[in-house]
């Protein structure tokens, strides 16, 4: 579904990604592992069209998307949630969700999609008129994911979704992502430091080191790999 080939990105003079290649198969969850600064976030940003790409290609469902604007990429069916959640803090929960559906228009489909999204995050339905900065950290993360879902994506990009969440909450959230991906047939590419939970729900994983993929394998094999376990999975 999504194939990155030899992606190069740099921030000013400093190269951030040199030659990242990876693949997200349809309907699967894929996790990017790696230390701080290894290029996980940069990869997510690059796919979402938030960074200029120097070289390489990104293929999404047979179409080249490297160099397209984020707006176009969203319309093609890729949505991202970023670190820090990037909500419209002063707006209500409902307004955030309406903006999530910006590329979809607000016809009859909107109400249907809203109802669907709220079945995944029932806590939000009681807070629709609340300013989103008043939500708890967990609820804010739900809203960030819910807002992305409003655009009916087929691929969801997630940068550090568990950041700032209590372990139990993080566990709940990953379980939620897994059931959501299954039920809606959404593929997921996620970058995560709390990697054991993430790999636990994934089909595949890639290990990044200083802007390069050094290992790519099924999640099962990664979990069995001593080196990966000690370096990234914390056991």
């Amino acid at each position: 579904m999504l194939t990155l080939k030899d992606i190069h990105v740099s921030y000013g003079q400093a190269p951030a990604l040199h030659g990242v290649s990876l693949e997200v198969p349809e309907g699967h969850i894929v996790t990017l592992l790696g230390a701080n600064g290894s290029g996980k976030s940069t990869t997510i940003h690059a796919v979402a069209g938030l960074l200029p790409i120097q070289a390489g290609s990104i293929d999404f469902e047979g179409r080249e998307i490297a160099g397209l604007s984020t707006e176009t990429i969203v319309r093609l069916g890729i949505c991202a949630t970023l670190e820090g959640r990037q909500l419209f803090g002063e707006m209500t929960v409902l307004e955030n969700l309406r903006l999530g559906a910006y590329t979809q228009g607000e016809g009859k489909g909107f109400d249907e999609q809203l109802e669907r999204v709220l079945t995944y995050f029932p806590a939000l339905s009681e807070r629709l008129e609340l300013s989103s900065y008043l939500l708890s950290g967990g609820e804010q993360q739900m809203l960030a994911i819910g807002r992305a879902l409003m655009a009916r994506p087929r691929l969801l990009l997630m940068d550090e979704p568990s950041l700032g969440l209590a372990p139990l909450l993080a566990q709940e959230m990953f379980a939620g992502i897994m059931s959501l991906s299954k039920a809606e047939g959404i593929s997921v590419l996620l970058a995560e430091q709390a990697a054991d939970l993430a790999v636990g729900i994934s089909g595949y994983g890639y290990v990044l080191e200083v802007g390069k993929v050094v290992l790519g394998d099924t999640a099962r094999n990664l979990l069995d790999n001593e080196e990966v376990r000690s370096a990234y999975l914390g056991h």
Partner: protein
């Protein structure tokens, strides 16, 4: 008491003119973070466009419509051509751009229309007998200004609060990265913000011309009050711009009425003293958004 009410109404009318121009300043500030000193001169330029249109024999309302459309395009073009180049570099650069815009529109108007004042209004909508309730009267000019200001504010409110497009405009002002994430064409929204701000400024200009006449300097004082109103209300708050404009108009009028005429233009000093006092208590303005962070 009647004198007080009379002056209060006069203050509200002139204040609503400041408020409209301040609204334009706020729309532009929210769009690209530029404090647009050139707002007054861009409004003046639009007034001349209206004058030119009417001098070809066009009626008042069609000329106003044409002016608003051209102001919309002009503002959007300025954002796209100039402001976008320096955005996000430094506040100093955007300050210099605003000054440059001031000089460009000032010079352009002088070049096209010359230095002599033009006769521009008051038009029939703004002239005629006063309407009185009890002992308090409101002149046709003030009534016209009030009506136009209220309609303008109401339309903007509807646009921003009740339409999907307005929602996207507000979203862009709040968080650009998040706006890109949900697929809003951010660049187009920023141009629209400038266009709307410029068009609203043109309305304020046409209102100002009804009592001040039309020449290159018509808007000098008005824009000072409008900038003050925007700062007083909170630069990022449209509601603040309206409230700030009204406060300045009323305070200025009442101060002018109740101070002896021998002290001259003390009304200006009083108006600005009030602003300083308010800003000492609320540095972000009355409705200004304090910087809020939550990790």
């Amino acid at each position: 008491m009647d004198l007080f009410l009379q002056q209060l109404i006069g203050g509200i009318a002139s204040g609503s003119m400041f408020a409209i121009l301040a609204l334009g300043i706020v729309l532009i500030y929210r769009s690209t973070g530029t404090l647009n000193f050139a707002q007054g001169q861009m409004a003046m330029f639009s007034m001349f466009v209206a004058w030119s249109a009417m001098s070809t024999g066009m009626g008042f309302w069609p000329a106003v419509l044409l002016t608003l459309l051209s102001a919309l395009a002009m503002g959007a073009l300025v954002e796209w051509l100039i402001v976008r180049r320096v955005e996000g570099t430094s506040d100093l650069n955007s300050l210099i751009v605003a000054m440059g815009l001031f000089l460009i529109f000032d010079g352009l108007a002088l070049y096209i229309w010359g230095p002599l004042p033009k006769s521009f209004g008051p038009f029939s909508f703004f002239s005629g007998g006063a309407s009185c309730v009890g002992g308090v009267c409101i002149g046709r000019l003030n009534l016209g200004i009030l009506v136009v200001s209220i309609v303008t504010t109401a339309l903007l409110y509807l646009l921003f609060q009740c339409t999907r497009f307005g929602l996207a405009l507000r979203a862009t002002a709040l968080n650009r990265l998040a706006s890109r994430l949900v697929g809003i064409p951010v660049g187009r929204m920023l141009s629209t913000g400038w266009g709307l701000g410029t068009a609203v400024g043109a309305i304020a200009g046409i209102l100002a011309a009804q009592s001040l006449g039309l020449d290159i300097r018509t808007m000098f004082f008005v824009v000072l009050f409008a900038l003050a109103a925007a700062v007083l209300g909170g630069l990022d708050s449209p509601v603040g711009a309206v409230v700030g404009g009204l406060i300045i108009g009323v305070v200025k009028n009442l101060a002018g009425t109740y101070t002896p005429s021998s002290v001259g233009s003390i009304d200006l000093a009083v108006a600005f003293a009030v602003i300083v006092l308010v800003l000492m208590v609320r540095p972000n303005g009355i409705f200004g958004r304090p910087v809020r962070m939550r990790v």
